[in-house]
């Protein structure tokens, strides 16, 4: 056990020694890996921020039924009866125009706009939460409501939220594909760096093998080399993402404040950031494993 630990310590020390002996190559490799990882990680962080923006809106379908200002009382009562008795309606809430104006006033950035109005431009409205999912049935309900004489306009509020959700889903898939591609790239990068390292140590490896070193002994320092390189690349990726988002945020802050919002792009959640490191470490190890195993098979006497 102690001997085993010592061998690992020696292998790690050897790997770190090689990295410091070739500082520039090591830094460049870490940079290449870091940039490759920063792209999907940054995309993921952007997407997470946008999603938090979208969750402010309900994804449940909702119908806003705006009433004509000149609607007659019996027409209004007929509409109210229909909304309260229709089996397709789960809940219907009446929002008088004074209430709507107050809500609008409370909305960030719109207070000044509302204050500038000299009269309330908003209509009375019903907010309807249907039982039906978006589709033909909901469309039929909207059509019937549109036909009511008291109704000026019916709006299906879920449409934009659904579009956003679909867009976010597509973006997520694109990022997953990008991440998979770049993970392959990372394995290929370490495969190649480790191969170069192997070639500079070819004599030592072949002699070691001839005089009794096990394959595990020969592999070990290269595993550490690959893993340390992957880890350094992962750390660098986090720094790049953090720096990139910070730079973007100065622009985003200006844009958001012009809308009266304090929205900012958020950095990766701590959990996500931490999973990136073992993942990049593993990819580096994998590249080293493939490279060394291949080489050991090549020099295996037949």
């Amino acid at each position: 056990m102690r001997a085993w630990l010592r061998q690992h310590r020696q292998a790690l020390a050897g790997a770190l020694g090689k990295l410091t002996a070739q500082k520039y190559a090591a830094v460049l490799n870490a940079l290449v890996i870091g940039i490759a990882l920063a792209l999907p990680a940054g995309g993921y962080a952007l997407l997470a921020s946008l999603r938090s923006l979208a969750t402010g809106a309900s994804l449940d379908p909702q119908l806003s039924v705006f009433l004509r200002a000149e609607a007659k009382r019996p027409e209004l009562e007929a509409l109210a009866r229909k909304l309260q008795s229709d089996p397709r309606v789960r809940e219907a809430r009446y929002i008088p125009r004074e209430q709507a104006l107050k809500d609008l006033q409370a909305t960030e950035g719109l207070a000044e706009v509302v204050a500038a109005l000299n009269r309330n431009p908003l209509p009375d409205a019903w907010v309807v939460r249907p039982r039906a999912a978006p589709g033909a049935e909901l469309e039929a309900l909207a059509q019937e409501l549109r036909a009511q004489p008291a109704v000026a306009h019916v709006q299906a509020d879920a449409a934009w939220a659904r579009r956003l959700a679909a867009l976010a889903g597509t973006a997520r898939l694109a990022i997953a594909l990008l991440a998979a591609l770049l993970a392959f790239g990372l394995v290929a990068i370490t495969f190649n760096t480790i191969r170069l390292q192997i070639l500079t140590q070819r004599a030592e490896i072949e002699i070691s093998k001839l005089i009794g070193a096990t394959d595990a002994f020969i592999r070990r320092p290269f595993f550490y080399l690959g893993a340390v390189q992957g880890l350094a690349g992962g750390l660098l990726a986090l720094v790049l993402v953090w720096g990139g988002l910070a730079a973007l945020n100065t622009g985003v802050a200006d844009l958001a404040s012009s809308y009266g919002s304090s929205f900012r792009l958020a950095f990766l959640a701590p959990g996500d950031a931490l999973t990136l490191l073992p993942f990049s470490c593993f990819l580096g190890w994998l590249g080293a494993y493939l490279s060394v195993s291949r080489y050991l098979l090549e020099i295996e006497p037949r």
Binding site: A3, R6, Q10, A203, E204, E206, I207, S208, K209, L210, I211, G212, A213, T214, D215, F217, E300, P301, R302
Partner: protein, 217 residues
């Protein structure tokens, strides 16, 4: 200790390096493998160390069938064999001392014990004073002795050398053989291949004479 029975080695391309070779070497014996270059001397030694595998027949080392060893078992066989290669295979990116340390780092020795054994091995071949030098700075005879020190560092029970005197003058060659004789005296089985008949004549030992891949009496 080492026994060949009906061993043949055919390389891809049809060249037959060894055919029907049978012999046995007892523990503690000292034997020469003699013959012209191309007679199969190197192949014979490589078969013992599982660097090559026989095409037919069985090679036994300490009762183990070396030709049938699993890949993972081969390193442990080699640690019990001291190998001196024809081209020495020294590492020129490190000191004499670190060359001897290489095989000692594979096993479970502590750093201090490994260093102690490396010093002892260098001492036995008379290179203790040169431990900090680079192998390039050594003479041909000294390089050969360094190769021997590395081979014996793990205290193997069998020591094998492939043409260890090939590029040395008679004096240095005799010195090398004295070192092998000294190890043999403390119980190490020694197998030395050479084409130098004068040398074989001077050291009266058992001779396995190879000619075109076969043993002659």
């Amino acid at each position: 200790m080492i026994s060949f029975s009906g061993v043949a080695k055919r390389y891809s391309g049809g060249y037959e390096a060894l055919r029907g070779v049978s012999f046995a070497i007892a523990e503690g014996e000292f034997a020469f493998v003699a013959g012209h270059s191309g007679a199969g001397k190197s192949t014979l030694l490589k078969l013992i160390a599982a660097i090559e595998r026989p095409s037919a027949g069985a090679v036994l080392v300490n009762g183990q069938n070396v030709g049938a060893l699993k890949r993972a078992a081969i390193p442990y066989l080699r640690r019990n064999l001291g190998l001196v290669f024809q081209d020495q295979k020294l590492l020129y990116d490190r000191s004499v001392f670190d060359n001897v340390m290489l095989p000692l780092s594979f096993g479970e020795l502590s750093g201090r014990e490994a260093a102690r054994r490396a010093c002892a091995a260098l001492d036995k071949v008379g290179l203790a004073a040169r431990e900090k030098a680079n192998p390039v700075q050594l003479s041909g005879g000294e390089q050969q002795r360094l190769a021997i020190a590395r081979a014996v560092a793990n205290r193997p029970s069998i020591l094998m050398a492939d043409e260890p005197t090939a590029n040395l003058d008679a004096g240095a060659a005799a010195q090398i053989l004295e070192i092998f004789a000294a190890f043999n005296q403390v119980g190490v089985t020694v197998l030395v291949s050479t084409h130098d008949e004068a040398l074989i004549g001077r050291f009266a030992r058992r001779v396995l004479r190879l000619s075109q891949g076969s043993l002659s009496a």
